[in-house]
């Protein structure tokens, strides 16, 4: 990619895509009415890319100019992005169409999908019911929509550099881009859907794409296996989700948000037990999709997919679907606004699942050496944070503590935003590392590739000291890690603080049972500090651990640009958006009376800082500072003791990065060999044996049972038929024996027959 400058001419097709929104706006189309474009553009791009790729593979235009479909995908995603931004801007402006009448929502219906009647228990028929398709826009939607469209676009951009330069992907990239845009369509659709059914439909489409993309390297046994595992595990959740939908439908006679959310208690007549089960089923679906305990096993394996896929689907967007679904449960429990009381166990369950997953994932991340796996567990852990936050929020809502609930809800959503940005970027950065290490390795072993297959470019034990080779990547990764760890003032800090604090508040002030999640998230904060630092140190600090490192250098601009953009957002976005009141804005659909902004900008800044570092409640102050201490000091220092180290003499990197690397060498080094051989470590390395036991359960129950069923079908059910047949033949042979061939026997039979006629006649008539 030497003359990569010229590559930008490839972006020409983006210009018409960019023009679509202005043209529509000038033509007077309302932004919400154009929302279908967000879904439609990638949906059209999908077959176009797939089929043209299949037809034109190998042709120079297709390969060089269209980047095997990447440019087409990028254009369609740009259409989605620009439309999404258009709607967002309209929404923020408070345009006429998006009024705030319904608490800041807007719904537009597109088509009636299916319609039918229902027979009631008094044998009367209800009038026609309709399940339609439409859009539902509120601030949560918009935030997720922006995250999704923005990251899809950036990661597609990144992929142009990442995928198209790998010779193994040649003539296969069209598949990648096609599935990529199909995924984008699923994600956009899910976010925009105005009812639970279509949410579910797009949800499943995402699952399909996740399956396809994990299995992109389909010839690899591990990839094919991981793809299947991901699909099946989420499918288990999805089935429960579907059952939840059935129950919801039964309760409300509709699945549309506008119908259900208008009065989720139907004047207090809703049976809270039934609703609890419905929501619990939905939550199981969310657990599957967001890889929470106990359906988390698929996510680490999903890293078999290409890195952009991990970045987009398994870190930034799809896994957020579960969170989104749980966020949509708020109106059900919001007792202040027609919610159904008595559902606070649901909040507890959500919070516990979140807490357990956060802790578990963080601890497993301690011992992972694969850079993507660390990030995967980190994703799990951070999502679990958000779940905890949402659980607490649900609990608050259900107990009428609307203010606190609103704050933690907004905080959770905000964490979702921060995490998506940071994690997307981290994955891309790790992708950059892997890509370059891989290329360097190829370069090094150009002639013979004897140990080609033994070398794992994702293994951090082959890295070290990369900070000097990859300054931009290392800086980006640093910022991303800081955001995840929650280093004060940077990205994730703002949202994580809110979650931890409110969880403790719930635990201390109201519900002792909340202590569990509370302590777990607190501990996890420190652990996050450790494993993220460990990853960074292992990769970028210290002496190179493999000869390959010497040959690594950053090359492709397609990769660098998204990193830079996201670094900026991660670093500044948290604080900046906090200041503009994003937390309350995000909670807008579910908070009906909170003011949005303080009087002046400066007041707002002060308020936010005060709120973060010096809250009124002394307990929260302690909790807040403990969190900061654990994540900022304890975790990173331990990490530095184990894995830190200065760069080789004479090599430098960016300013902050160099200092950090130098700092890491100052804490001395600690040998953890003994620790890493303990049984706990062993267990952690084996992912606490979850996969093992799931596998065992499958192979000991499902498969034998299936074999048994097949045997039963063959031998018993079909066997009966065959038995009838063979017995008929047997009977046939027997009965033919009577035809002896002796004429006198025949005569005898005639006589016998004559006699039996008499006997029968006598018997019947007598």
């Amino acid at each position: 990619m030497g003359d990569s400058g010229n590559e930008y001419r490839l972006l020409m097709p983006l210009i018409p895509a960019l023009l679509i929104v202005p043209v529509l706006a000038i033509a007077g189309v309302e932004s919400v009415d154009a929302a279908f474009l967000i879904v439609l553009a990638p949906f059209i791009a999908f077959p176009v890319i797939l089929i043209s790729g299949q037809l034109y593979n190998g042709k120079p235009t297709w390969k060089e100019t269209l980047k095997e479909g990447g440019v087409i995908g990028l254009s369609s995603l740009l259409v989605s992005l620009s439309t999404a931004v258009w709607i967002l801007v309209d929404y923020l402006r408070g345009a006429r169409e998006i009024s705030e009448d319904a608490g800041g929502r807007v719904a537009a219906s597109w088509i009636d999908w299916i319609s039918f009647d229902v027979l009631h228990s008094d044998y009367t028929m209800s009038s026609e019911r309709i399940i339609g398709v439409g859009v539902w826009v509120d601030s949560v939607t918009l935030m997720l929509l922006f995250v999704a469209t923005f990251l899809c676009f950036l990661i597609c951009w990144f992929s142009l550099g990442y995928m198209n330069t790998d010779p193994i992907n040649e003539d296969r990239n069209h598949r990648f881009y096609a599935e990529f845009v199909l995924f984008a369509m699923g994600m956009f659709g899910m976010v925009l859907a105005d009812n639970f059914l279509w949410l579910f439909i797009f949800w499943e489409i995402m699952g399909l794409c996740s399956y396809l993309l994990i299995g992109f390297y389909f010839w690899k046994e591990s990839a094919a296996y991981a793809a299947k595992k991901a699909f099946l595990t989420t499918r288990v959740g999805d089935v429960f989700l579907m059952v939840g939908l059935l129950i919801l439908y039964d309760i409300y006679g509709s699945l549309e948000f506008s119908v259900i959310f208008a009065d989720p208690s139907i004047n207090g007549t809703v049976d809270s037990d039934k609703l609890f089960w419905a929501l619990l089923m939905l939550f199981i679906g969310a657990v599957g999709k967001s890889a929470q305990f106990p359906l988390h096993v698929w996510l680490p394996d999903a890293m078999e997919g290409p890195t952009p896929v991990s970045a987009l689907i398994h870190a930034a967007t799809m896994v957020n679907a579960g969170l989104y679904l749980v966020a949509r449960m708020v109106p059900f429990v919001d007792v202040g606004h027609h919610g159904v009381p008595g559902l606070d166990e649901l909040g507890l369950i959500v919070a516990y699942i979140g807490g357990i997953t956060a802790f578990m994932a963080a601890s497993i991340a301690f011992v992972q050496n694969d850079i993507k796996k660390v990030l995967a567990y980190s994703t799990m852990s951070q999502l679990a944070y958000i779940f905890t936050g949402l659980g607490v929020s649900l609990w608050f809502y259900n107990n009428g503590k609307t203010d606190a609930a609103t704050l933690v809800f907004g905080g959770s959503m905000f964490h979702l935003f921060n995490h998506a940005m940071a994690k997307g970027m981290l994955f891309m950065a790790s992708g950059s590392v892997i890509h370059e290490v891989h290329h360097a390795h190829d370069h090094l072993h150009e002639g013979g590739d004897h140990d080609h297959h033994d070398f794992d470019p994702q293994d951090m034990r082959n890295m070290g000291g990369l900070a000097s080779k990859m300054p931009i990547t290392s800086a980006a990764m640093m910022i991303g890690s800081m955001s995840i760890i929650g280093i004060p003032l940077i990205g994730g800090f703002w949202s994580k603080e809110a979650i931890v604090a409110k969880t403790w508040k719930a635990s201390l002030d109201y519900e002792p049972l909340m202590f569990g999640p509370a302590i777990l998230v607190l501990l996890t904060a420190g652990m996050t500090g450790f494993y993220m630092s460990r990853m960074w140190f292992m990769t970028f600090a210290g002496e190179p651990k493999h000869e390959v490192v010497e040959h690594v250098h950053e090359s492709t601009p397609w990769i660098k640009e998204p990193l830079v953009i996201l670094s900026i957002i991660s670093a500044l976005g948290g604080f900046g958006l906090s200041v503009f009141g994003i937390v309350k804005w995000l909670a807008k659909p579910y908070s009906y009376d909170l003011g949005i902004n303080k009087d002046s900008f400066l007041d707002q800044v002060v308020y936010e800082l005060e709120h973060a570092f010096l809250p009124d409640d002394p307990n929260l102050r302690i909790v807040g500072w403990t969190t900061i201490f654990l994540s900022l000091v304890i975790g990173p220092i331990f990490a530095a003791r184990v894995h830190g180290g200065s760069l080789r003499e004479g090599q430098t990197s960016g300013p902050l990065v160099s200092w950090l690397v130098w700092l890491s060498g100052k804490f001395g080094s600690q040998d953890v060999t003994e620790m890493s051989q303990s049984s706990l470590s062993e267990a952690l390395q084996n992912r606490l044996y979850f996969d093992h036991y799931y596998e065992l359960a499958l192979s000991k129950t499902v498969l034998p049972f299936a074999t048994l069923a097949a045997w039963f079908d063959r031998t018993v059910i079909d066997g009966i038929i065959k038995k009838v047949e063979s017995n008929s033949v047997l009977g046939s042979v027997q009965i033919r024996r009577v035809t002896t061939g002796r004429a006198s026997d025949y005569i005898l039979m005639v006589a016998v027959g004559a006699l039996s006629i008499f006997a029968l006649a006598w018997g019947v008539s007598g």
Binding site: S728, S732, V738, A743, M749, G753, A761
Partner: protein, 562 residues
């Protein structure tokens, strides 16, 4: 009631008359030669035509065949005329009556014989002047010469027997007097015994003839004895007289019942009811296929005519169940099951068809026994008789058809194994397709006529019985329904069972061919006939032709029951 035959009677009996004349002609003409009789004391030689060296025309082995064909065609025309334009009074003496029923049956018999005759053309040798075997021939050439000779010299005998068979059957259909009926039956039977044993040079021929003859004779002896008991009982053997005596009978007279029962044995043998059917497979497999076809269709129809006369006209009480209905029901179930089961594992196609014809007899007997149940209204009775007559008619198509196919293959000497049919589909797709149609029709698969006829019979049974049960659960309904209903179930299950061997027969044609040639085994006329029979099997199954034939059968049924 006149005791003399007049012109009208002759016209009524025109088919039989034609056959008689033809019979005489076939006896005489092939023997015509250049023999001359020297008038004694002179040297004048007067040609007497009988004997001597035969003329080329008269010694042509194809001649009897042509003559038979001509005779039968003329008879068919006469009989069709009678059928389409029924005489106002068909009484001939007090023993015969020509009505719709007997005309239809006569037509049926003659059609079967025509088919048989046409099929027999395939047995004619290509060389009419084949030499007779002489001393010193080796075994092989001797047997080939014998075979040629066999075909050459005995055509006339064969066709004479066919015509006597036809004569017996058609007269029997017209008989309204039990003794007349029996005599005609004997005429037909005796001819058929000889036909079965016609291939006297082969081991099978003699044996088949012997068995068929012995068992048949015993059965008819029992029948005649039964008839004599009936005579003993009423002193009159005319059907109407017996019927009146029966209706006026206070309670069942054991002698009368015994008489009917014993006649049932004789007729049961004719139709092939178990357990009197045992000789039938042997007979079919030992004789030539076309004769077997005649036995399976015409002869069976004859048996049913006799059964109708005996059971429906004579032995029907004025009300209530007939004494024979339970017996017949049991026999019918045994017959169909036995037939189907035995056919299942047979490997000889002729035996398979023999058993299949036994099974079909069972279906028809089941229908007949439903009439005797005493719960059938007159309309329902007529419906069932119509169904059975219709079945007998269409049976000619799809039972005679396969025998004609087999007859074609028989020339190649491979008709005794199912595998003889292998590859027929590639040799002659049309004949194979027709054969398949016959199989499906036999099995009762729509849209072929076998389905319609079987459906009509089952429908008859259901019609008689379905209204009888009444209860609120399946079980109580099943116990309260008239047992006749279960006959329908038996027929249906047996149809399913029969599918096995029909399909097997149908399937082997699509297997890889044996070594036998590539060309069609049939000659063009036979082939055309087979194909048109298949088409008719379809046409009589659904659509206007079936309506027409059903109309005829309906009239016939009405005539029989009136």
């Amino acid at each position: 009631m006149t005791s003399e035959l007049d012109g009208i009677d002759l016209q009524l009996l025109l088919p039989e008359l034609v056959m008689t004349l033809g019979l005489a002609a076939i006896i005489i003409i092939p023997n015509l030669g250049d023999a001359k009789f020297r008038i004694p004391l002179t040297s004048l030689r007067v040609p007497v035509l009988i004997g001597g060296t035969r003329f080329p025309a008269t010694r042509d082995p194809r001649l009897p065949n042509w003559m038979t064909l001509a005779t039968l065609s003329a008879a068919l025309a006469a009989s069709t005329m009678a059928l389409l334009d029924p005489p106002s009074s068909g009484q001939v003496g007090n023993a015969l009556e020509v009505d719709q029923f007997s005309s239809l049956l006569t037509n049926l018999f003659i059609c079967v014989l025509i088919l048989c005759t046409v099929s027999a053309t395939q047995r004619l040798p290509s060389d009419p002047d084949a030499p007779a075997p002489s001393e010193g021939d080796d075994e092989e050439s001797e047997s080939s010469k014998t075979a040629a000779l066999y075909d050459n010299r005995r055509q006339a005998d064969f066709h004479i027997l066919l015509l006597t068979l036809g004569l017996g059957m058609s007269l029997m259909a017209k008989s309204t007097h039990l003794f007349m009926l029996f005599v005609c039956l004997e005429l037909a039977s005796l001819s058929s015994y000889v036909l079965v044993g016609f291939h006297k040079e082969s081991k099978e021929g003699g044996e088949a003839g012997t068995k068929y003859f012995i068992v048949g004779s015993v059965a008819s002896a029992i029948g005649i004895y039964g008839m004599s008991l009936l005579y003993l009982w009423s002193g009159d053997l005319s059907v109407s007289g017996l019927s009146q005596s029966w209706q006026s009978m206070e309670s069942l007279d054991p002698i009368a019942a015994a008489g009917v029962g014993m006649m049932l044995v004789a007729f049961g043998f004719k139709v092939g009811a178990a357990p009197f059917h045992l000789a039938i497979p042997d007979a079919y497999s030992g004789t030539s296929s076309m004769v077997a076809g005649v036995l399976a269709t015409a002869s069976k129809a004859m048996g049913f005519v006799a059964l109708f006369r005996l059971l429906l006209t004579i032995a029907m009480p004025a009300s209530g169940p007939a004494f024979w209905y339970g017996t017949l029901a049991v026999i019918s179930v045994i017959t169909m099951t036995w037939g189907n089961l035995a056919a299942l594992s047979s490997d000889n196609p002729k035996r398979v068809f023999a058993y299949s014809s036994v099974a079909h007899a069972g279906y028809m007997l089941a229908a007949v026994s439903a009439i005797g149940s005493g719960i059938a209204e007159p309309a329902a009775q007529e419906l069932i008789v119509m169904a059975v007559i219709f079945h007998l008619c269409v049976l000619v198509l799809f039972k005679m058809g396969p025998f004609m196919v087999l007859s074609s293959i028989e020339r190649e000497g491979s008709s005794h194994r199912v595998s003889g049919l292998n590859g027929l589909a590639s040799r002659d797709p049309l004949v194979a397709a027709s054969m398949f149609v016959f199989m499906l029709s036999l099995a009762g698969v729509p849209p072929f006529s076998g389905f319609l006829s079987k459906l009509l019979m089952i429908n008859g049974i259901v019609t008689v019985s379905a209204g009888t049960g009444g209860a609120s659960t399946i079980l109580s309904w099943a116990t309260s329904v008239n047992p006749v209903f279960w006959l329908a179930v038996a027929v249906v299950l047996n149809s399913a069972l029969s599918m096995f061997y029909y399909l097997r027969m149908g399937m082997v044609m699509f297997f890889e061919p044996n070594e036998d040639g590539e060309s069609s085994p049939c000659n063009p006329v036979v082939r055309a006939l087979i194909v048109s029979m298949a088409i008719l099997s379809l046409a009589f199954g659904i659509g206007p032709p079936s309506e027409w034939l059903l109309g005829l059968a309906e009239d016939a049924a009405a005539a029989l029951l009136s």
